[in-house]
């Protein structure tokens, strides 16, 4: 379609097109739309949402789209924190899966005590949420100190909790595998009588708070400044160590919330298998969002779209009943396509193709 337009018309439409293609969100959104289109092509009812009733007669929304929005909650929340960490520290936190296990473990212990099948909650849910977030933030602070004070590479620093986190989560639960009372399940499923899954609402709140915080505080500016150049930002009166530390703590908070949602989904936590391999999905979401993994500029909206893209892909592989041995290959092939198309070389090639005006700039790579 683009070629047609180009031939047909003046510079003007070419310019508009070029602007569109060069827009930072063009590729992430195009991917998501592309995946959804494939799904609709295979199963025309894919985007349909219907109002059903659950087994206790409460109204619930049922549909693939709802499932994707629902199941992507943890991924989106973690991607928000990971984007900030990536931007400020020029590295990634690979311990998020393990720290979700810690936060989840703490939450379960607070709610269930030492019982395996408690009929009632041992503490108010808000207390569990707060302690879970605290546990997540403590893990984030631990990683943050290693990275900001000791200048250890983020991937190496977070390797410690990546290795030990799930065992710590298991110890936090006292070696038990309890299942909490049903009312804890409202936060990972439905609030009775309200048809939209609660994780979607929680995601909306977290995203809204994030954008508000980025808008009204200097966090966004400072994070970018530190990520682009430590030294010059410190010459300009910023404290790079503090900013980095802060982003890790924010990621820790995201971990706590994600752990809470995840634990609530089935009202139990298995520290060894909770959110398997989510670290890589989260980092991928950040990358798919058009962010440079070497820090500096970041694009929060892109990361969030990236997270939904990954969940769409996961959901698609389920509904297509892809052979279980082929699932990782399938996923890898699609992801490699997405990443290659986003690479600067392909981007500039496309850019040149559509226009003869100035060469591409502004892909977040200014930092040397």
């Amino acid at each position: 379609m683009s070629r047609n337009n180009n031939n047909l018309n003046s510079n003007r439409s070419a310019l508009v097109l070029k602007e569109l293609i060069r827009h930072r969100l063009f590729i992430p959104i195009a991917f998501l739309a592309f995946l959804l289109l494939i799904n609709v092509f295979i199963n025309p009812g894919f985007l349909g949402v219907s109002l059903g009733r659950d087994s206790s007669g409460n109204p619930v929304l049922i549909g693939n789209l709802i499932n994707i929005l629902n199941n992507a909650a943890e991924l989106v929340i973690l991607a928000i924190g990971m984007t900030l960490v990536t931007a400020s520290s020029r590295g990634q936190d690979i311990s998020v899966g393990a720290t979700v296990a810690i936060a989840g473990g703490v939450i379960m212990r607070v709610l269930c005590g030492n019982e395996t099948q408690p009929t009632e909650l041992h503490a108010p849910i808000i207390v569990a949420l707060l302690l879970g977030c605290l546990a997540g933030m403590a893990c984030g602070a631990f990683n943050g100190i290693l990275v900001s004070k000791f200048n250890i590479q983020p991937m190496v620093a977070t390797l410690i909790l990546f290795t030990a986190g799930r065992s710590i989560g298991s110890m936090a639960m006292g070696g038990l595998k309890p299942k909490a009372a049903a009312e804890f399940g409202y936060y990972g499923n439905f609030i009775p009588g309200f048809p939209i899954p609660t994780p979607i609402l929680i995601t909306i709140v977290v995203v809204a708070v994030t954008f508000l915080a980025l808008k009204i505080t200097n966090l966004s500016l400072y994070t970018r400044a530190v990520g682009i150049n430590d030294k010059s930002s410190s010459l300009n009166g910023l404290n790079p160590a503090l900013i980095k530390f802060l982003t890790f703590v924010i990621l820790g908070l995201c971990v706590g919330i994600a752990g809470f949602v995840q634990a609530s989904r089935v009202q139990t936590v298995n520290p060894y298998t909770i959110v398997p391999g989510i670290e890589m999905d989260v980092i991928l979401a950040v990358a798919l969002g058009g962010n440079s993994l070497s820090g500096g500029k970041f694009n929060m909206t892109g990361s969030i779209i990236g997270a939904y893209t990954i969940q769409t892909l996961t959901s698609m592989l389920t509904t297509l009943n892809v052979n279980t041995n082929a699932v990782p290959v399938f996923k890898a092939v699609i992801i490699i396509m997405l990443v290659v198309i986003q690479s600067p070389i392909v981007k500039s090639f496309l850019g040149n193709k559509f226009t003869v005006l100035k060469s591409t700039v502004g892909d977040g790579k200014e930092r040397g």
């Binding site: 659950d54 087994s55 619930v60 709802i66 030990a164 065992s167 298991s170 499923n189 089935v266 298998t273």
Partner: protein
């Protein structure tokens, strides 16, 4: 500064080791005080508390071995196949008298078995059968996962459900439990003309992924009337998803639920009519291995391929007494 960093790193390494080995530390410490004649049994366990089943399994080893007066050195792979192999090699180096292996994956154990053989340490497989030729291991005390699956298949056949549309929720890809149970239902489906509408493995045998998968299937309008979940937890996850969509299941419902392992809480669900069938996977291997080691010590020949006896529990015949008798 550098010194500080390195000392902190060392500290953290130590902490990490303590964290990882927390469960085995106790048994290793007590080793020093043991009388020299005691038999030392090295156990390579999968995960410390992956499930209630595994907890009962670990407990069974510890209780039976200490009752028999053995020294136990138990190590946990924590989901890492490669780690298990190096742990097993380590135990061989420590010259344990018997090596009991519960493999996370069934492949890749040849080298361990060979070095055990060279060191003269009997190699016993427990729980999950490994891919080893008969001359490489001494004995096995395993669950016959394919036979478990076949029990479920035969039961399903007897139910005479019209037009079976089966959702298969597999366990960790490549574990012998997954391979055996999946093979049984796949063979059963092709023999009986059943339709498998979904067949994927859920990483980690977990509720959450099973729940997501079933919710996705429901949302995309895929019809099914049988859920074949390869453990209790995934069956519970599938039931959660069906609950949320208002689909009835169990004894009086539209969807027949088949689970494996038969934990106590799962048997309660069978009794309540939420699961239709639960096939037992017996975790109490400890006493069997004690018996095996005693016969080996006495120089008797042992049965090489011993399978554990296992039952199944169906919602029409289960009684409160069966549930109460279950300890795990």
């Amino acid at each position: 500064m550098k010194k500080l960093i390195s000392s902190v790193l060392v500290l953290m390494l130590v902490l990490g080791l303590v964290a990882c080995g927390g469960n085995s530390a106790g048994s290793e410490d007590s080793e020093a005080s043991a009388e020299p004649s005691a038999i030392t049994v090295g156990v390579v366990q999968t995960n410390a508390n992956e499930s209630d089943w595994r907890t009962a399994n670990t407990k069974s080893f510890n209780e039976a071995f200490s009752a028999a007066g053995y020294e136990t050195k138990m190590v946990f792979g924590e989901g890492d196949h490669a780690k298990q192999i190096s742990q097993a090699q380590q135990l061989i180096q420590e010259e344990v008298d018997y090596l009991v292996v519960l493999g996370l994956q069934s492949a890749g154990w040849e080298d361990v078995a060979k070095s055990a053989q060279e060191a003269g340490i009997p190699f016993i497989m427990a729980d999950r059968k490994l891919d080893l030729s008969e001359d490489l291991y001494t004995a096995m005390v395993c669950s016959d996962f394919e036979a478990e699956g076949k029990k479920a298949v035969d039961w399903l056949k007897a139910q005479a459900i019209d037009d079976c549309k089966i959702v298969v929720l597999g366990g960790d890809t490549g574990s012998s439990a997954q391979l055996g149970r999946s093979k049984a239902i796949e063979d059963g489906a092709s023999a009986n003309g059943w339709d498998i509408v979904f067949n994927q493995n859920m990483k980690g045998w977990d509720e959450t992924l099973a729940k997501q998968a079933v919710a996705d299937l429901i949302a995309s309008g895929k019809e099914f009337n049988v859920v074949y979940a390869e453990n209790d937890n995934m069956a519970r996850g599938a039931c959660d998803a069906m609950d949320a969509a208002g689909i009835t299941y169990g004894k009086d419902g539209d969807v027949t639920v088949i689970a494996f392992d038969a934990n106590k809480w799962a048997l309660e669900k069978v009794l309540a009519g939420e699961f239709n069938l639960d096939v037992e996977c017996n975790p109490l291997h400890g006493p069997r291995i004690v018996k095996l080691i005693n016969s080996l010590e006495a120089g008797e020949t042992v049965e090489k391929n011993a399978y554990v006896d296992e039952e199944m529990f169906d919602c029409d015949t289960i009684t409160q007494a069966i549930v109460d008798a279950r300890t795990y």
